[in-house]
Amino acid sequence: MIHVLLIIFLITLFYMAIANRLMTYIKVLALQGVLLFFVVFIQLNEINTLNLILILLETIVFKSLAVPLFLGYLLKRNNITREAEPFLPNFVSLVITTCIVVITILISNTIIDDHLDKIFFVVALSTLFFGLYLIATRRKIITHVMGYMVIENGVFVLSLAIGNEMPMLVNLGIMLDIFASVLILGIFLNKIGDVFKDVDVDQLSNLKDY
């Protein structure tokens, strides 16, 4: 079942590569949060209340509700147009995303390790690289934040891949870290929206060497 969920997770990446609208990105992010919740939920060996609450908080409440709502609020507040405006055509994005997935599969095929669940590894690594790709090829600043969230989802899957029970404290730390980052990025995005006319990366080129 976990495998099914993870394959669906990969399909969401493909969908994100060809999606045109920012709202679609946000919905996909929310969906990824739900998928991650089920993955963790199934993987749990024993259900203990504290763990369950933490996971619920991290995936459903945070990844699927708080961040998407916040991003939607940012969209609305800054009057960001609904198109994603990639630098490359979606077709190329899709081909590159497919290449990323294939390459990570090939990479992970060369690794022999009992401590690692390979499919998690593949999903984690391709999500990570896809996030970086998303950041590099979209014109709007808010898509950078979304790319960052995609990377964070990849890291989440990676920490599942390693399977080692990370100390609760570290887990909590990560959650706060993501939360703080997204919040701060969002606040500054608002400021950028107030100061600049357009929320494009092209606007951020005033710092020069001369």
Binding site: I192, L207, D209
Partner: protein, 475 residues
Amino acid sequence: MIGIYLLGSFAIALSLFFSRNKLLVYTLLGLSLLVQALFTIYAGFHAGEIELIYFTYDSLGMILLVTLSIIAIPAAIHSYIYIENHKENPQARAIYLSSLVLLITAISAGYLSNHIAVTWIFTEITTLSASALIYHHRNKLALEGTWKYVFICAISITFIFIGILFLSLSLQHTGSDDLSFKNLLARSNELNPVWLRMAFLFIFTGFTAKLGLVPMFTAGIDAKDTAPAPAGALLASVLMNLGFVGIFRFYIVVANTPLLHWAQLVVGSAAFLSLFVATVYMLKVKNIKRMFAYSGIEHMGIVMLGVAAGGIGYYAAVLHVVLHAFVKSSLFFQFNQLYRVFQNKSIYHIGNYFKYNATGAMVLLLGFISTTAMPPSGLFVSEFLIFKSIFDTGHILLLVVVLLLLTMIIWSFGKNIFKILFIPVPDFDEQNIEIIKPWESVSQFLLLATAVYLGLNPPPFFVQLLNDSVSLLPG
């Protein structure tokens, strides 16, 4: 003690954040400096002890902690001058000082932590507090700089975390899950090399955002440019050292595994690329503050070349980091005075500084000599030792290229500095320029002198500490 220190400093930062009264604010700032000094002295008397599981007063941490505590004092003084000069409103002042204290505290704790995850957490805190400092001016440029800094640092922090995940995977093969540097070092021969490689790549890439190396150096440049000069001094010196600590401590672990040669290659090529990039930018840069920042990239490139070369290079690298912190912070402090005279950052609008502020001009001249590692400067010693270590490894060609790049840097640095010092700007209005009081430059002279003293005639305990901090490295 470190618990009390952290709690105390955080409490001070918090109360600073809510204080609007001028007297109270500066009292709190002084108090935080006092706490910092007391903590440093305490740490000095308890060398080698472990506190709260995650903190050790080891030699490397101690050296850098003392450096930080010394630089923190002029940073506070210049922040005071800066704030009073700009007549900042109480709210901006409170946020600025509170972030300053938080930054200093987080850097101290980051130096002393013996666990990579704890270093990671404090590095994150420095990002948050530094971003508040960078955004101090609340204008377009500050916004742009802050956004870039926060974003790149967020990505880097994530990278470090991925590296930590890989590291724990690598450690699982030894049946242990304790990620402290000591445990890693003890088990360095059992670590799985594949995952260790991945871990090193990600952690190294992540920390380069703080250290200022290729590939993540860009954010730091914009940050130092847009932050107020006293805060920029901290970003350009002690915060870079935090990145150095993160990489160096982990490098010690990797160096004790069969991956040493590979790690040398990675670090060496990143360092060489940084040097190259710094040269290219230095040749065309017209913004003085950014020029200082690029010079920092160059120095960190040299430092990491020393680390990659090994041998005497390790010793020289740590020494260079310390001396560079003193020199670069004094240059940034001086920049503020320069800016007050000319109200401009561009080389085209700055000139004949000796005429308007002779003391400050002396600082700039001495700072230039120090930064470019000309003989009386302490950096000459460390840089010379690093070149010697590269020579020892037999990479003569690399050394020649590095020296060529450095010559170009010195040329362009000197060209700009002498333009600032002696060549008058055409139609410059001399009527309303601000007179800078000579005492404001005293701290900078002291910092530069410290660098010379530590470099040319290092006291025995300092040498001892330096040797201790690199003693775990092979060769």
